[in-house]
Structure formats: structure tokens, C-alpha cells
Symmetry: C3
Subunit: 374 residues, 3 copies
């Protein structure tokens, strides 16, 4: 071997970084399928994800390049997809509560708010620990989204049924399980080459721990597992490990993940309903339970691990405030437009007549031996 | 860093190239799920894809190795999967119109035709711009496929219902969204290492632009979005950017993608029916709307960008003619065999009785609380 | 280029190896979807997979690190995911036959047994050929799993209906087709960099051959294709090539795959029922047909190719015996616990009432134009 350990040339490092970045694009799409469990509202979730992504990603690059004078390179491309995936997580809070076309409006309003918070954490403050996005991505997504529903104050959403079907939830299982596999690429996307592998192991440790602890707690509390709580809270370790992924070893990673899984499960079973009753607004996908609280857990864990730097505390509080305020303004703006004719329903954007009508037994039934749509 | 920018050693470059190549295999499989929207014809699409792939890929390598004397290496493996994915796109034109076993026949006839066109574009002609396959892959797929249906002249297909179900279309969303993510690996699969990253950015720019423009045009024209038009036409930017992906920057990429999305959407809504009425034959999956016309748009864009080299024009015309003629011969040969007992229906190849029969309420209904298949 | 062919620096090789390792995690998750075809038993398969994985993977690393004193590095992380995927394959033999929580018990008992067999093959014996896991992974999975059902002796499982639905099987198609694409990453995960690319080509050759031969044999034997036999047996080439993937060229790889596809198909159509009748126990997912027998085919192929080293024979016999004995003990231990209230049914772990109830036509039917669950 010619080069000493962990000397990786620039172009090779960039190509590897691109592959991790491509995994983040992959995750962005899978987040849509994580949110696809409502049987009457599936395609609409996918379309909302696409519109958010295709506006936010180039808009971030455009502002970054023309306003801030930053070159378009692998790092800015990944920072832009971080921005886009944060938005895709954030729309989970108000999915089904606005007209489809206004996900474009939301995206345009989101990008500057996100960039302001990014500047606040990493340029205004000094020494914030958040290599894997516990604060930048997860906390901001949850609190900006909550700002939007607090601004929108759409109370009719509370009367909408959110029934699942077997296969709408099977898509969620697929998305969640693949997100777990890809997660290490996300938290290491911006790390220097020599930190990537140890951070990946630590991230997997956190994820297997939360996927165990959420099952155990659900089993103890309820005996019957709620598949949506499990498929969501099992990822809490990935959310929480973001802030410390390059600072702790596998065992500490496992412990952080285990705690995050317990906390997220508890949030889904108890905090969710309490917040809904207290505020009167609905966090459609329970984003706060997976991204908000576990994001805080992760950010606080970094304070404990690294001896409590004050900057970390300011980053947590600042993100919370900036998120709720800019999200709230967005919600008030979105309130100007007409409400969608149907909440939480694909028929808001698509003609669903054909797809929802089962095959008639009179047309193909006899020769094929069955009549059910599948 | 020891090495200067963009000096990547041969074996490292090959390993990276293999990962991009593996992404193309991935895309080949996802193309099957992009075409899975007909509720009575899903498994048959997957099986047709598999048979096409498992014959075309090794056959290309066999001919390349034994007839043309080319070594089996990473480049020939990727060229072979380009051939296979072109066939998988092309069968979309006549899916459901031939017996399953004859996808093998079609594959055997396709490979030499494809290789002849490949030779025509890149060896006979000089200076054709098509690094990412707008002509080689997409145009040839569309026109060879159209040759087949013109040769087959199966008019009964026009009377077959093509009804969707919610989840058959959800699979299409999944496939389309993941194809978007993987697309940059496809258009950069054969580029030298130093061109890979800029080309990947340009490709994503083209894709987010078409995914925006197809939504906007659909919304303006129809108000209600056709999910199949959206999930297909959103990829038109990737098709069109193939010819210029290593020649243009992000902004030009975005513009090419935006135009391609508009054109493809228009083709799906208007050209498709007009061609169907005019010719009497049916392009089952609308391959011409996503691959044919946007492929031409991309090839022409390269003429504009690079100052209109004549070779490009010959490549477009030649591919069109070679595609339709060799496809037409294939169609005439396929016409010899007996027509499938069912068009566009899984029961042509599989016993569907059980899978299409919903659970009886008498067997498991009471204790489980429901009777629907899911 | 500065470095001579196939000199890859250590850190670059490790980063590449990690990407192959991440693909194995991906495959582990997809194995769950390969086993998701029973319409009443889908989420339970995913949950069982998760519990097996999240216990086995860290437990292997824990034992490896604390008992055997091996550092946690990229190699041990991959060896641990090999252990975990072997367990996920193995539970396929007894899926639906134990309570969900006892997949944790099974995992705890599996890991030491797997590590003992790993030691037996690669440390006790000398010169065993199995770079891609035909013996270590596939054979051990099948025979340990069979040990479990022989120990459990749950005969009620034979009376359970295993009905499919269209989309439960579409998930299987998706999983199988993506597993084929990822398979080369699995068989090359532990190879040195210079052997990776040729082995990847050989692996794809084996896979396209089995995906062809299983179709041809099914077509000849049955005319109508059983989609589950096809989606499973098409992967037999990947199972069988494991032992010789770094020893043979593309053509030999194709031949080994072709034979493996024939053998696996035959096992699914004939051996499966014979074993079920003879032993009285049920291999739920037919693991023996895809992993057991093709694993032996692969291991024997290595004897033929490399001139029949005796160690290979001992590895085959030893794995068979160690698998059945340690699996049998596990089965006897699992027999102590109460039987699940429902076999092969998601309602064992989840409340299925809502998901299995179709939309009432009275609630949303009129305005949406349909009443079918999707």
C-alpha cells in the first residue's frame, strides 16, 4: 500500500461523498412511503413530497450560489438535499391539510427560514455539535411544521378518519426498514473520510437499540404492537445519534438509541394525544414524536458527552423558536388560500373513481376466477 | 493529499464505475414496477422484465466477446446492461400483447439489432453526442418497440380495459421516485471519473425541472393530475439530458429538463391518443411519450449546445429507421406464434384464482374482524 | 495513473467494503419482503425480521469483541451482518409457528451456534472454499431452521391456509428482483479488492442463468408458472455460486447457476411436499428448497472445480449436523413457551381490525366514487 492509513485523495473522497449524498436523496423519497399509511391518502403524499423536493433543492442551491456566492460542489449539493429532506419531514406535520399546489408555496417559504437557522447554528453560534443533523434537520423539521399547523389552525382535520389498510402499512414497513439501512449515509454525509466508518457503526448501533427498545416498551405497555408506532419509533435512534455520531463509540451509541426509542414510543402513545387536545391542532404524521423530541434527546446527549457547551443549549432553544416563528408565519400565509375540498384524501388532487372501484364480477369475473381488486 | 485533483487510480475508478453499473441493474428492475399499474397485469410485467433481462444481458456479452473479440470487463458489463435496460423499456410498447415465453424470442432478436444501431451511432458515425443514452437507449427503445407493434398489428388490444388500483399505482410512484434518484448513475456510467460529479448535478437539475413542469402543465390543462402521466413524465428530464449531460451546466440542464417535462406531458395527454387512432396500434405503456419524443428533444438539444454537428442528425434519423425496421421484422416474426389467450392479464402466465379471491367471511372473518384482501 | 493496477489503498478499500456491507444490510431487509406473500401474515414477517436482526447483529459483535477479543472494524461488522442475515433466512423455516417475542429468544440461541459453525468451517477445518457463503450462510440457515421445526414439532401449522393476494406477491417480486441486483455485493463482501469485480460478473452470470432455467423448467413441467417458485428459485444461482465465486469465470458461473435453478425448482415442486409428508413438519417459506439444497450444490461445485478437497466435504457434513443439532435444541427450548394464539397470522402481534375492514360505502363512498380497500 502506497498511502498511509486514512489518506484518501480529494477526488476519491468526493466520489464516496457523492454516494452517501445519493443515499440521502433515496431517503428523501422513502420518507414519502413512511407517511403513506392512510388508505385514502397515498398518492397525494408522494406528490406532495415530489413538489417539496423539486422546489426546495434547486432553490437552496440558487440562493447559496447567487446570494451567498458559494460554488456548486458536492458539499453544497448535499447541504441542499439536507434542506429538502428537512422540508419533506416537516410537511408530515400538515400533510392533507393544504391544497396540493401549496406545497410549492410552503417550499418557497421554507428554504430561507431553514437557511437562516443553519446560519444561526453553524455561523452565528460557535462549537455546536450536530454532525448528523439532530438539530439542523430533525428538530427544525418538527418545530417549523408545528409552527405551520399553529398558524393554519385547521380544526376540521381532527374529524377526518385516518384508516389504514394492510398494504398501505406494508409500504411503511418497507420504507422504514430501508431508511434504517441508509441512515448511516445521512449522518456521515458531511464527515471527513477518516470519521466515516466509525460513525457508521455507531449509527447502526443506535438504530438497532431503538428498534429493540420500542418493541419492548410497546409490548410491556400494550401487548398488541401498533405497527405505525413501531415503524416510526424504531428510527428514533438514528434521529438522536445525529449530534454525537462522530463523538461516541458503539456502546454509548447503543445506549443513546435505546433511550431515544423509549422516549419516542412514549411520545407516540401519550404525548401525541395530549398535544392534540391541548393545542387543538393535529400533527398528521406525528413528526414531533419521531423528530422533535428525539432530536432534543440527541442534542442534549451531545451536551452530556462533550461536557455541556452552552452553544448547544442556544442551538436547541434557537431552533425551537426560529422553527415555530417562521413556520407560524408560513401557516398564516397558507391560511390565506382556499381550504382543500377534501382533507387527507387523494381525491383532492387526483381522479380516484377508477382506482377505488373494484372489478365488476360481470366483466372479467368468471374467466379469471375472482373479482377482488388487489 | 498526495495526488492532484481528479487523478483517480484505475482500479478505484473501476470499482466506482461498478457501483454506478449496479445502479443501472437496479433501474432495470424498477422499470418493471414503473409499468405495473394495470390491476390485472402486474406479475406478468415483472416476469416479462426478468426474461428480457436474463436473455439480453448475457447474450450481449457473448456476442461482444466471441464475435467481436471484446474482453469482458467493467465497460462491457455496463454496455450489456444498457442493452438489457433498453429492451426492458422497449417491451413496454407491446407488453401484454404477446405470450410470456416470447419475450425470450424478442430478446434474442433485439440484441443484434441494438448492437447494430450502437455500431452505427458510435463507430460508423463520428462525433455523435450521447454520453447518457438519449439516442442509444431511449430513442432506440421507443422506435424498436413501435416497430414491433406495427409488425404485430394486434388490434384486439384496443378493446382491453387497463384499469388501475390504488396500490398498483403506489408501486409506480415508488419505482418512479427511486428511478429519479438513481438516474445520475445511469447517465454517468460510462463517463471518465473527472466528469462524473458535475454530470450528476446536471442530471438531478434536469430531473427536478421536469418533475416540476409536468405538474404545472398537468395542473393548468386538467386541474386533476393523472398519476400515471405525472410519474412517467417527471422522468423526461433524465431522458432528455442524456445527450448533453457532460456538456452543459446545472442551469442549462434545468432548462432542458423543464422543456422535456412539458413535451412529455403533452405527448401523454394528446399525441398518445392521436397515434393510437392514426396507426390502429397501441403503445401499452406510452413508451413513445417518455422515451421517444424526449429522447429526440435531448438529441436535438445537443445539436443546439454543440453547434449542430451533422452526425447528430444522422444518429437521430438512423436510430429511428433502424429501430422501426428491425422492430418491424421482430413484430412480423412474433406474429407467427399463437396469440396469447388473454391480453394484458396475469392469467396468461399464472394461475390467479387464489390471489384474486378475497378471504371468505366464513373462514377467518369473525375472529379477525374483517374479510377484505389487502 | 500513479498506482499500478489493483493497488488500492487500505482506507479506500475499506470504504468500498463498507458499501458492499451496507448492501448486505439492505438484502437482510429485503429477505423480509421475499417472505411476505401470505395475505394474512405480512407485518408479522417484517417485525420478526427486525427483532432477529436487532438482537443478532450487536450480539455477534459483543461476543466477538468481549469473548474473542476481536476489534470492531469493517470486517467484523460485515461478519456480524452475515450472521444476522443467516438468522433472517433461517426464521423463514418456522415463521408463524412461534410467538413474535420469541424471535428474540431464537436470536439469542442462534448467534453462539452460528459462531461455533463459523469457527468449525474456517478455523478448525483448513482450506474450505466458501467466499460467498454457500455453506456458512445458506446451508446453515436451512439446516438450523429445520432443526428448530423438528424440535418444535408444531403439527397444527399444516392445517393453516397460506393464501396469497395479488399485492402480497407483488412485494415478493420487488424483493426478489432487487435481491438479485444486490447479490454480488454479498458474495464479494469479504473478498480483497482485486477479486471483487470478476466475482461480481460471475455472480450476475449465475443469477441470470438460474432465473432462466427456473422459468424454462416451470414452463415445461407446469405450463402455468407459480410466481412464488419463480421468485424464489430464480435466486438459486446466487446461493450456489457462493462457494466458487472467486474461483470460476463467467461461463462456469452461468452453468452452476443454471443447474442450481433447475434443482431449486424441482425441490419446490416435489421435494417440499415429500419432506412435509415424511417429517410431519412444515418449512413455512421453503427455505430448504432455495438455501439448503442449492447451498449443497454450490459447496459440491467447489469440490469439482478445485479438485475435491476433503475439507469441503467435512464442512458440508459438519454444517448439516451442527445446524440440525443446535437448531433442534433451540426448537425444544422454544417448545417450552406457550403456542401463539394464531399461527401464520398478523393478529398474533397486531390489532388488525381496522386494516382488514374495507371502507364502508356509507361513509366516503358516494363522494369518492368507490368503496374498495386498496
Amino acid at each position: 500500500m502506497l498511502l498511509s492509513t486514512y489518506e484518501v485523495t480529494e477526488p476519491v473522497a468526493e466520489l464516496f461523498q457523492f454516494h452517501r449524498g445519493q443515499d440521502v436523496f433515496f431517503m428523501l423519497m422513502l420518507v414519502a412511503f413512511l407517511m403513506l399509511f392512510i388508505r385514502r391518502y397515498e398518492w397525494g403524499v408522494a406528490l406532495a413530497t415530489m413538489l417539496s423536493f423539486v422546489v426546495a433543492w434547486p432553490l437552496y442551491l440558487l440562493i447559496s450560489n447567487t446570494v451567498l456566492g458559494i460554488d456548486i460542489n458536492i458539499e453544497s449539493v448535499i447541504l441542499a438535499v439536507f434542506c429538502a429532506i428537512t422540508l419533506v419531514i416537516a410537511i408530515g406535520v400538515f400533510l392533507g391539510q393544504i391544497s396540493t399546489i401549496h406545497y410549492i408555496t410552503a417550499a418557497v417559504l421554507f428554504v430561507p427560514a431553514y437557511m437562516f437557522n443553519e446560519w444561526f447554528i453553524f455561523s452565528f453560534l460557535d462549537g455546536v455539535l450536530d454532525a448528523g443533523g439532530s438539530i439542523l434537520v430533525h428538530m427544525f423539521a418538527a418545530y417549523w411544521g408545528w409552527g405551520v399547523i399553529l398558524g393554519l389552525r385547521n380544526r376540521k382535520i381532527n374529524d377526518e378518519p385516518m384508516k389504514t389498510s394492510v398494504h398501505s402499512v406494508s409500504f411503511v414497513w418497507l420504507a422504514s426498514m430501508l431508511l434504517l439501512v441508509l441512515w448511516p449515509s445521512f449522518v456521515t454525509a458531511l464527515l471527513p473520510p477518516e470519521e466515516v466508518l466509525p460513525a457508521m457503526f455507531t449509527c447502526y448501533m443506535a438504530l438497532v437499540a431503538s428498534a429493540l427498545s420500542t418493541y419492548l416498551l410497546s409490548y410491556i405497555l400494550k401487548k398488541e404492537i401498533d405497527p405505525l408506532v413501531y415503524t416510526y419509533a424504531m428510527l428514533a435512534g438514528g434521529v438522536a445519534i445525529g449530534a454525537t455520531v462522530n463523538l461516541v463509540g458503539p456502546l454509548t451509541g447503543w445506549i443513546i438509541g435505546f433511550i431515544a426509542g423509549l422516549v419516542s414510543t412514549w411520545c407516540f402513545y401519550y404525548l401525541h394525544d395530549w398535544l392534540n387536545k391541548t393545542t387543538g391542532v393535529l400533527d398528521t404524521m406525528g413528526v414531533h414524536n419521531l423528530h422533535g423530541v428525539p432530536g432534543i434527546v440527541g442534542a442534549v446527549a451531545a451536551m452530556v458527552v462533550a461536557g455541556a457547551p452552552l452553544a448547544q443549549l442556544w442551538a436547541i432553544l434557537g431552533t425551537l423558536v426560529i422553527g415555530i416563528v417562521t413556520g407560524g408565519i408560513t401557516g398564516l400565509i397558507l391560511k390565506i388560500f382556499k381550504e382543500p375540498k377534501q382533507l387527507l384524501d387523494d381525491s383532492e388532487a387526483f381522479d380516484m373513481t377508477e382506482a377505488r372501484t373494484p372489478d365488476s364480477p360481470l366483466i372479467h369475473g368468471e374467466q379469471h376466477g375472482g373479482t377482488a381488486p388487489a
